[in-house]
């Protein structure tokens, strides 16, 4: 394999919303490269639909403190409150700045940025829904991704497109380099750098039914986890209530924000029973559990009684066309149904990783229970865990997270690299990656990557998703371990160098298996129910024992060692989460 060498002050890994926003912040301040395995505009930020919250108060009274309260409560009090306050306060500037960057938000009749309702966002500490989500039809993420990419072009940001980062190097206790695989040539590239910011997005392809792109395989967390960085709060994975039945394609909460209703087999608006005040706009963890409870109790719909309906038929057709054009098109394309007159079969879909690479409010990666910073290492966006989402993220808070903490990370990184010199690269820095690639390429074992992956996804969906028990988690842990064995014998057919996705899919599966194990072990240990983590055998929240973040460390054989760290509190005392 050919190896190329580069030297930069800083490298951003990933070109979704978080990576692009970080790149904008560093532009002109230091020499930066952005490495991305996809063309920037293919990043899954572009799939985000509903909106981005900020208490602009453009259409009704609102305040960033109310937003922070909702975020903390929505996260079932596992949120670090200072981080949530920063995010909600800076949200206002972040939205205004996006508008200045050219973002085409929907407008009020007065020409201001329009706002709409979204799940879990309330007026005055839970009194009722509030219009807080800024949006651009139901393609808010697309517009944000395009706008940020455009601003990177305007600043001449240096992209390495279709470069997949597979390893990181540390020397003298800080970051010294990255190793990337170039898809077009199969060559390796070593980047000598003072700092790296990971913004590689989520890992929702661990589950069978998912709203995530097939490329969302947790590479960034996977690379760092193998190099000794812990993964925080992995047991908290969000299932969005309204995925298209079987396909998992998302139908945004905006559908319910605009007035859509969930109905069971008796045509009952069942959310009235679970969340009398906000009903269909309760937070996602609650709605997902409500749907599956209806299904368990026999009120599901269809041959297998395993889905419920999303009903938009009572909405004015013009409102559907204007506010929800894309998602109603998905229903027409993939289900062959007309949402203006027909109800839509939906089921919960794996959506968002609350857990990930632990960071502080400057997006610096912290590597232990004492929040010790690893100099030069940063993370932002869905791959990171600040933690602003705690045990359950509120809708619209991720688009916010990526721009707020992408910007903070970029700023902190630019400042850092201007104060230090490069650390020497370790000798043979690319050997590990070369070994990984060559082992897969030359393997004669007969195990098929796609089959192992499919089994992982099915098991995780069945036993480690919305409802979990000690028994289900032990069973899935056994399976993950046996899949790890099979993975050692996985072979690939493509032995070539050019666009060898056979190879990269195999490598990605390795990351998914590692992260799945950390998720299951963290979930097994947490004998309580909080946010998206629900244990049938421990159905209540246990603040006395579990008001703390999990940290999963990887042992050499892939097994997991757990540690914990304190949640950073603030003015909101934990109370029961009712809506």
């Amino acid at each position: 394999m050919k190896v190329h060498r580069h030297s930069y002050d800083a490298v951003v890994v990933g070109a979704g919303g978080a990576g692009l926003r970080a790149a904008i912040e560093t532009a002109g301040k230091c020499r930066v490269a952005v490495l991305t395995k996809l063309y920037p505009t293919r990043s899954h930020t572009g799939a985000a639909q509903g909106g981005m919250c900020a208490a602009l108060a453009n259409v009704e009274e609102d305040s960033w403190e109310w937003h922070a309260f909702d975020t903390v409560k929505g996260g079932d009090y596992l949120v670090d409150q200072p981080a949530a306050e920063i995010m909600c306060r800076e949200a206002i500037d972040a939205v205004i700045e996006l508008e200045h960057f050219g973002m085409p938000f929907n407008r009020t009749p007065e020409g201001r940025i329009d706002q709409r309702r979204f799940g879990g966002h309330t007026r005055n500490h839970g009194e009722g829904p509030v219009r807080r989500a800024c949006y651009a039809a139901d393609r808010t993420g697309h517009m944000i991704l395009q706008t940020l990419y455009q601003q990177c072009l305007a600043r001449d940001v240096n992209f390495f497109n279709e470069f997949q980062v597979l390893d990181i190097a540390f020397s003298e206790g800080r970051v010294s380099g990255l190793v990337a695989y170039e898809l077009a040539t199969g060559d390796l590239h070593v980047f000598h750098t003072k700092a790296a910011l990971f913004a590689t997005g989520g890992y929702g392809r661990m589950f069978k039914v998912s709203s995530n792109a097939v490329t969302l395989t947790g590479d960034g967390p996977g690379v760092l986890y193998r190099r000794g960085i812990p993964m925080q709060d992995m047991e908290f994975f969000q299932f969005h209530p309204t995925g298209i039945y079987k396909l998992g394609i998302l139908l945004s909460e905006a559908a319910r924000g605009e007035g859509g209703i969930l109905r069971n087999a008796d045509n009952e608006r069942f959310m009235e029973r679970y969340a009398p005040t906000v009903k269909d706009l309760a937070p996602r963890d609650m709605v997902s559990r409500a749907i599956l409870t209806e299904v368990r109790e026999g009120r599901g719909i269809g041959e297998n009684k395993d889905y419920v309906h999303l009903d938009l038929t009572h909405l004015p057709p013009e409102q559907i066309d204007e506010k929800l054009p894309d998602i109603t098109d998905f229903v027409r394309t993939y289900m062959g149904l007309e949402p203006k007159t027909q109800m839509i079969p939906i089921q919960p879909t794996a959506h968002y990783a609350m857990g990930g690479i632990p960071t502080n409010i400057s997006a610096e990666v912290v590597v232990d229970g004492d929040n010790t910073v690893l100099p030069g290492l940063y993370a932002a966006g869905e791959c990171a865990c600040v933690s602003v989402h705690g045990a359950n993220r509120l809708g619209t808070n991720s688009l916010l997270d990526i721009v707020v903490f992408g910007r903070r990370g970029g700023a902190a990184m630019a400042q850092y690299v201007n104060s230090v010199s490069h650390a020497d690269l370790p000798a043979h820095v690319e050997d590990e990656t070369r070994g990984l690639v060559e082992r897969l390429r030359s393997s004669t074992g007969g195990e098929n990557v796609a089959d192992i992956r499919a089994r992982l996804q099915e098991e995780m969906m069945d036993k480690a998703s919305v409802f979990r028990t000690d028994e289900s988690l032990r069973s899935v842990l056994d399976t993950v371990r046996s899949l790890r064995d099979r993975y050692q014998r996985a072979g690939i057919q493509d032995k070539g160098e050019v666009f060898n996705y056979d190879l990269t899919e195999a490598i990605e599966l390795g990351f998914l298996i590692d992260l799945a194990e950390s998720l299951v072990v963290s979930a097994l240990a947490r004998t309580e129910s909080r946010g998206a983590h629900f244990r049938d055998d421990h159905p209540t929240r246990d603040d006395a024992n579990w008001m703390r973040h999990s940290l999963a460390f990887r042992n050499d054989d892939g097994s997991v060692r757990l540690d914990y760290k304190a949640v950073v509190g603030g003015k909101y005392e934990p109370m029961e989460r009712k809506y």
């Binding site: 293919r42 697309h142 796609a450």
Partner: protein, 235 residues
């Protein structure tokens, strides 16, 4: 929903082995409600791992998987088997260099996109508030904001096949998105760029682009609006 056997004819090319592209046929079993991309995955995962194509979101929003399916440009993740039938031919989009199988070199396409200054240009300090824009002004460029840069339009254009210096419909769509944005100040510069030999006047209004666009953008109309703005010097 029914299980069907599909005959997929795929134009294959491996630069490490082949002198020129050739067709291979695969028989795969899928459900008729599956997408074409699912059938391609079935080929890759269970028949021939050396087959390469780009894809990511698999629901028509990222623009990775434009290809020629049964003769026309489309996204493989948006077409369902039941709508295209059980004999399917797939080949790379035309007009861009093929690297491997369905993977083409996208650089020329993105270079053309970049040539039209695809970012908001406004030198006035907006202060701490948003710039105002009426819903009517916002509506003028709404359609062209939908573009996902999939290249289906540009690579369906006969003019583009014959002349690679033509900026192509996608670049014009993205210029339109800023030219008609009331907040932008560089419309005249973009019109100058599109008034050059490689610009809008190459368009012969063949409508192939509009038919190919998976986002249903009215591309020909957008191009006409740009032409008119140049002719009458009016935005």
């Amino acid at each position: 929903m029914a299980v069907v056997d599909v005959e997929l004819k795929i134009k294959r090319y491996n630069p490490e082995q082949d002198e020129k592209p050739h067709w291979e046929t695969y028989e795969v079993r899928v459900e008729d409600t599956d997408r074409v991309v699912d059938a391609l995955h079935e080929v890759k995962w269970h028949h021939d791992g050396t087959f390469s194509f780009r894809r990511s979101c698999v629901h028509g929003v990222c623009g990775s998987d434009a290809m020629v399916i049964n003769g026309s440009n489309a996204l493989a993740c948006v077409l369902l088997i039941k709508d295209v039938g059980t004999k399917i031919s797939v080949e790379p989009i035309r007009g861009l260099p093929v690297i491997k199988d369905l993977v083409v070199d996208m650089e020329p396409f993105f270079d053309q996109y970049k040539s039209v200054l695809p970012y908001l240009i406004n030198s006035k300090d907006p202060g701490y508030e948003e710039r105002k824009q009426s819903p009517e002004d916002r509506a003028r460029f709404d359609d062209t904001t939908k573009c996902i840069l999939c290249a289906a339009c540009t690579t369906s254009c006969p003019v583009y096949w014959g002349n690679e210096s033509y900026v192509g419909p996608a670049a014009i769509v993205n210029a339109h998105r800023f030219i008609f944005d009331s907040r932008d100040e560089a419309g005249a510069d973009r019109l100058d760029i599109l008034n050059q030999r490689s610009g809008v006047w190459r368009c012969r209004t063949a409508f192939s682009c509009t038919e190919a666009c998976p986002r249903d953008i009215k591309i020909t109309q957008a191009i006409q609006e740009v032409k008119r703005a140049i002719l009458y010097n009016r935005i």
